[in-house]
Subunit: 365 residues, 4 copies
């Protein structure tokens, strides 16, 4: 396994979404008769159930209170970034964080919020007490072990044990690291470091693993961890999916759900008003996110369920999932994860003709 | 066979037209002395013979009654889409379908019409009674088995048995699925799901198999089915061929004929008047085809037989087939299917110099 | 050897100039102390010696009498196309062909002329009698065997036997075909069918073999033929080389000389006046060459020997050869043919920074 | 090892920076607690220590006296080209060279100067006597052996023995050549011939080895030479790195330091004033460097240490190194050289969304 890149040194060949495609099945299924529920484990309680396996990224241009409520009502889950503009301009933070969580809860829906590891202990407690349903601890690269003499690292195992609500941890890639993080007790793991175009990690740091390989590796860790412990820790592929086809591929590679950012920045409900930008960091020296115009192309409902008014795959993500599952013959996400994958040359669609995705199999669609 | 795309998971490497090229033969043949006839099997009758192995896609911007007549007279076969605009605006459908079929038959030529599977039972009967020569059952992904509790699926085997005229079924990819469809009794099978630029399946659904691999796989199924049953079910590669070179490659990969869409949308006879669009679906939520300006570049005769006035390979498709066959030394499509194929880096022709395709071998051309 | 492109079918992986690079040697040599002579065998006479291993293509926009004289005086050889405009507008042909040959000979230099196979018997005799030094029989795909009942094919063996002057034959690719052609007795063989950007064969016909693989294969045939017969039939790689680097790669792959077209169309001496086009064919139905503006960038001397005023590698082709040979440590073309080749990702130079090719090795340049 | 590129001939597959990526580690480290010192061995003295493992290329548009002083003060080392404009316009050379060296030394910093091999003996002596700390002998392709009867080659072993200050030699690629050069006694070796976009060697000469493979190979030679002699000769990867990610990859591939050109041409301190060009050669016939506008994007301090005001990775190169090392869990360059490398499809970032590089691991950044 691996290619020689020079004398005495080998490297694995890895794959991203553009390099693969999914193969139609021997059986096709009516897309209206599929189960795409995502279940997030909870301590001493039934799992949280999302009707659709899609989360919205904790980004300022994507998720505010209003967006979070809309997303939850449509069956998904949006994560509010506690370090972003939504909680930045007021003091003390405790009031503001609790306030934002309560605003979401007032919408009668699930509330999910996030912070970087170094604030997780503090913010996690505040958010939980304010009624949050899910807490996300997120940094570019998460491992179960971090070495520093300058400051005290988050003890991930202790944090997961002490929190009553589910903790989602990320981002990570790689079998071993994912396995070790799962041993710390999170409810789910976010997969993806530097997944291509949506992130400068590859260009700025040279760091990153393409999402197909990252997802397959982490799914293997999840399955091995489940085999060992009987605890199923879902993995959520995060980043690099701008089209329905990418979402389908992530699930087929083994993801239990996906986390999407820029596709939702195009929603009328997105606070970015047609703009999208990365999470700013407090470290003044590190490169910051660029603000990009993505445009507002439709309502969140349209982006999730259609009708698609654009032909680039950025709308009707759920329709894409169910249509694809019908075509490959998968009744559930678990079956979808078994889809045959091929390595296929990238398609170049600029200036080319687009054609309709038609009916599935031999039945009435 | 296959590459590791991550831990515990392999994927086949697949190929499209841009990744391959054909190798000249040890012998060359005068292109005027070749047989390129396509034979479509019929029940208890001699096969239908097409002088050229080219069908026109069942697309509204390509085929209407006038185009179908012109195409048949030039030796090919055009398929009229019974769900498109040609039969949409009048009721009852029975009269309109029958009327269209009769109009084509009044041209003194073969009439071929198509529907999606869920309308095949009804429309097939009407078309056959009106005198159609060929019926095409076409959906994005066809399998011999479709699961639904919501509606009754088409019984493909029963349909093929009951129809007296040849039934062409598609689209499909993969050895096993193709073999199973052949067991249902069609006269021919359409090959191709999401073949690149002409279809959004890859982008929207992540679904699709590049046409070289799809054609090679289905040709293997055809040969295995023939070996088992002595019934030869031709395969027709459908989609992704915009140039003569692509058509040649499809045949060299094992296709008995090809189905072409956008190249014919450029014909003066095409009802799209220089525009091309995909087949609209009745499902309001699914993405629809985009209308693209392809321009009108010449007559259908010119597109099929030249003289080519453009240098991009979109005209004189038949000349391309015979010239290529002469150069590889193939006397028939069956011999052409044995051509040596190489994997070759894509050629980038933008802004580069084009040179003439000259004479063949050592003879006078 | 080969990759699976589908069930039961393999294909060789082939390479073009953009996919490879040459590796510097363990020893470097002063570029002024190298031998790059090309020797073309003659019957019962010493070989014709060209000081530089470069021929100019038989194209109307490149070679006329004046260009041919200039090219020969600079040490190369230009081939005048007897079917092009240089001999088209006057009758009888015999006078015109003989006239053109004599005009070149009046320049005191070698005269080389070409025709397609079907006119070779007639034109070859005329040209030889008029004093031509080399005759080139050229078609897109040449084999030793051509099948036709409609007309009489050229008997290549007989033609080579009867001509007193050296006959160069092409174009061809592939070990077996090249070996068979060599058995017919030509003085040299032209290598290359559809070598990428300079030819529409790949797009229009799907036909072609990238030049690296084509050259390596034909060099192997040449060496095997030499081993069997002790007759060394040089191979001349023709087409697809627009830069000095491509010329170097062709020689390193095993070519004894190269034939270049578009690079010479940029010469002040070229009759195309800054335009380049392919050879027109008499077959009205086949696609013809497009006329492309390449611009006039300098004198032929400058293109061959510099000083290069452009940085894209299209000038100082001979300087590129000797500098590269010095860097890889090759004293002769025969040693250059042994250079280590690597498969290297294409370089994209658009909008990027260009840097100077500096001195060679540890010596004074 | 290697792929068939044709009959009887194989070629290694090689890799450049765009084809690889680095994999996050199982452990992450606080980037503020890392050691990135580069040590250049000296004869009978402690090594020269650079706080950062970055050298500035000996190019006229990058390094003059003022830049060299600024670079040294920031912890790196800039090489002044003794054949460039800085010493060109005055005679005798001896005074001018000595003057430039003394000007740099007057800044209270290390002085490094370079020449081509044929002037090394003379210029090296002058520079050393004037107080230079490092001498660089640089040509496009360096080997331990150069053959010429026309002039006397530099005896590299003798030169290294006679110079008291450290001699850096380059450029080179390949295990064997590097090993042989190390046997001549240099303090360090520059790695890189034709590394892609920053050089025309690939286009003009067809010559070059992508930097990943070149660096891995030369690192293997360094390690083997160290194992044999217990003398550690650092390798400095030179060329083809325009972004922090490329610098990280070079170090991860085994480089001890990097030499960067165009990234520094963008500094306010660069003498090129926003323009960059290659080193002119005295050989009038060889292609010369093109002058390219790169723009002035910030101070040298900003380019090395940030804060980055651009998002393309061209600023805060040191921050990129330490952040990446923190993420892969490397405490030193020696540990960084052990990073897991993957082959990953190139990312295309044009017109795509950029996101912030965030904090490392579980700690406070």
């Amino acid at each position: 396994m691996g290619m020689w890149i020079g004398r005495n040194r080998k490297a694995r060949v890895t794959y991203g979404f553009d390099e693969i495609a999914l193969v139609p099945g021997r059986v096709t299924i009516n897309p209206n008769e599929l189960d795409i529920t995502f279940r997030l484990p909870r301590k001493e309680a039934e799992p949280l159930e999302l009707k659709i396996p899609i989360l919205a990224s904790a980004m300022d241009g994507v998720v505010d209170v209003r967006f979070a409520i809309a997303m939850s009502r449509l069956g998904g889950l949006a994560v509010l970034n506690l370090e972003g503009v939504q909680t930045r301009y007021k003091n003390p933070q405790e009031d503001l964080i609790a306030g934002r969580v309560r605003q979401i809860k007032d919408g009668g829906v699930l509330a999910a919020v996030s912070s970087i590891p170094q604030r997780a202990a503090e913010f996690g407690r505040i958010a939980q007490e304010a009624g949050a349903d899910v807490f996300v601890v997120q940094s570019t690269v998460s491992t179960a072990r971090h070495i520093s003499s300058e400051y005290k690292s988050l003890d991930l195992g202790k944090f997961c044990r002490e929190m009553r609500i589910p903790v989602i941890v990320g981002n990570t890639v790689g079998y071993d690291v994912t396995f070790e993080i799962m041993e710390c007790g999170p409810a789910a793991v976010l997969v993806g470091v530097g997944p291509g175009a949506a992130c400068t990690s590859r260009g700025v740091l040279g760091l990153g693993v393409p999402q197909v390989t990252a997802t397959v590796d982490c799914a293997a860790a999840r399955d091995a961890y489940f085999k060992k412990t009987s605890r199923y820790v879902p993995i959520i592929t995060d980043g690099g999916m701008s089209r329905g086809g990418d979402v389908c591929k992530a699930l087929a590679c083994g993801a239990d759900a996906v986390m999407v950012g820029s596709a939702f920045a195009k929603a009328q409900e997105a606070p970015g008003c047609g703009y999208h930008w990365g999470m700013a960091t407090p470290h003044a020296n590190l490169p910051r996110g660029t603000r990009i115009k993505v445009g507002t192309t439709g309502s969140l409902k349209q982006i999730l369920f259609g009708p698609a008014e654009v032909d680039d795959g950025s709308q009707n993500l759920v329709g894409a999932i169910t249509t694809c599952m019908g075509n490959v013959g998968a009744r559930s996400i678990a079956e979808f994860q078994q889809t045959e994958i091929i390595i296929a040359p990238s398609i170049k669609t600029e200036g080319k003709l687009f054609q309709t995705v038609q009916s599935v199999g031999m039945g009435t669609s």
